[in-house]
Symmetry: C2
Subunit: 327 residues, 2 copies
């Protein structure tokens, strides 16, 4: 059982610690890396020894956050996880397993946080862990430098699709304003984070858009990419994540599907649903899971099989009387 | 010569007025419509007679702002323009010309405002006219209702690409936070404004992406749409505006071009430039104009001619010694 802390208590524990190892989640995104880097810079500003460990390589677009990578230079006395909902998300590479047996502190915004740390600061209303960490670093008495502001803005902006997602609250905007006043370079950051796509990503999107299909009287839109197409485009598979929101963005579409063939041949299906439709219910019937608006599953067999299996479940969900009423 | 007012003086003049006609600019966007509607609702809350006039139809996506359309029900005693930089932008339809001979008040955020009104409230640092109008309505002592908040949020979000453009400041985020606290339904609005694309728009984008070309060692990316393709896709030409930012979003690209063939056969060319490159200089040499980062021109002749003419100017600009140093 973890003990819940408030912002002030978490700040006190961090101020009292030294030789601090900060852990990010695997397949790192802007929030976990932005938080890891910001906390590391803040602890170093207090004269402490600190470094960041992640099971996977930090994507190059986040390298400006300048996390100090942990290479065993010190014996960690305090281990703190940022933006990590459960121990499974730490990953297995870079020597990670030897540091995840005991986690002292956790700062997170996932309501489903499993409570694996001794002490946890959890705020499910925060749109990003960075929104919460901003309060912690301020409470620690550390000046928010332009570099720390850039790190926290990266977490805030990437986790909210640049303030577009429903998780965005008044407080998210207030923290963004404070980070800009502290020197966050939002023009450069927004260009880097949202308006810089590799050529390979453009090519993969071109192919996927050529595969756009409408089903169920236009209530469902579907795109797909075969393994060969993904390989030939040269795209980094992580860069395909954004395409999951394309089919649902079409007028009149209630369920958007993206089918990506995996290296083993199976199809990974991302399900996105409009308000009033349950994406998770669709994915769950095929052995998957997720949230109401965004869920996923993986199906063996060829493309036609995968399509008909998922479309049957989409139809069942859309034709439920409850869905009809809500949507 | 116009007289410049501050927020308080503009609020006083509006509070003293009655039978107020609010004018929006032609080809209306979210900012001019959001401001027109918000100001109209605010004036009506004070018991005044007010209505909104626009030369072109209000796009259906903004109909929720519920502007009260002017149909000559009253004799306007005060005419106020919102988000209109010059008299040319009023347009000629819907009986507009008879009301633009004398403009009493103007609320705007375009630094190039021509000063056509008797009294002007101008703030070039505001990311949207809505950012400024929020202060005016607050100063008028009118409660920011959820409807007014929705209208102002629409202006703020659409003019900043949902807080992505370089015009976004700390104050933009602070106003967004206040509007959310006042009841703006940002989840629904963001879905409507940014994540709802007509099928026809998807089809036109698919075709444009299939026409992607790289030139000048990848420093220039170009897309085009012929008149026939635009017609066959069925897209509303206004919905193609967003595509202008696609080519420049590709990694390594310094100049992005979108060529759209017009009904008359000529090619309208939108030029977008990365930091350190002057899009306006490129467009100006072909008889066009605009801003440093976004400019345009129109060329007669066929596609190949239009391409070679614009690419020659792009090359000249990219090879200028100053550009080489800056970029």
């Amino acid at each position: 059982m973890t003990e819940q802390l408030n912002v002030q208590q978490m700040a006190e524990r961090l101020c009292a610690a030294d030789n601090i190892l900060i852990l990010c989640h695997k397949n790192p995104d802007g929030d976990t890396i932005g938080c890891g880097s910001a906390l590391c810079h803040a602890l170093k500003a207090l004269g402490k020894t600190a470094a960041v460990l992640c099971s996977d390589a930090v994507p190059s677009r986040y390298s400006f956050t300048a996390p100090v990578p942990f290479r065993g230079e010190f014996e960690p006395k305090t281990v703190v996880a940022v933006d990590v909902a459960s121990v499974q998300l730490f990953g297995e590479n870079n020597g990670m397993p030897q540091y995840t047996r005991h986690i002292d502190l956790c700062i997170d915004h996932h309501t489903g946080n499993s409570g694996y740390a001794d002490f946890t600061l959890l705020d499910g209303n925060a749109a990003a862990a960075a929104e919460l960490l901003y309060e912690v670093i301020s409470e620690m008495g550390v000046e928010i430098t332009p570099l720390i502001a850039n790190c926290l803005y990266t977490g805030l902006a990437t986790d909210t699709g640049c303030f577009r997602f429903s998780s965005t609250t008044a407080n998210t905007h207030i923290v963004a304003a404070k980070l800009i006043l502290a020197g966050a370079q939002v023009e450069e950051l927004n260009t880097l984070l949202f308006d810089t796509k590799p050529r390979e990503r453009m090519e993969a999107e071109r192919i996927a858009r050529n595969h756009l299909e409408y089903h169920l009287e236009g209530r469902c839109a579907l795109m797909y990419l075969t393994r060969d197409e993904i390989e030939q485009s040269g795209v980094d598979p992580a860069d395909l994540e954004e395409l999951t929101s394309l089919p649902i963005s079409i007028e009149g579409v209630k369920v958007g599907l993206l089918l990506r063939q995996q290296p083993g041949g199976s199809y990974r299906i991302s399900v996105r649903a409009a308000k009033g439709v349950d994406a998770c219910a669709i994915a769950r019937r095929l052995g998957g899971g997720g949230h109401t608006r965004a869920a996923g599953c993986e199906l063996l067999g060829n493309l036609d099989n995968a399509k008909s299996a998922i479309l049957a479940e989409v139809e069942a969900e859309l034709d439920r009387p409850e869905t009809q009423e809500e949507s």
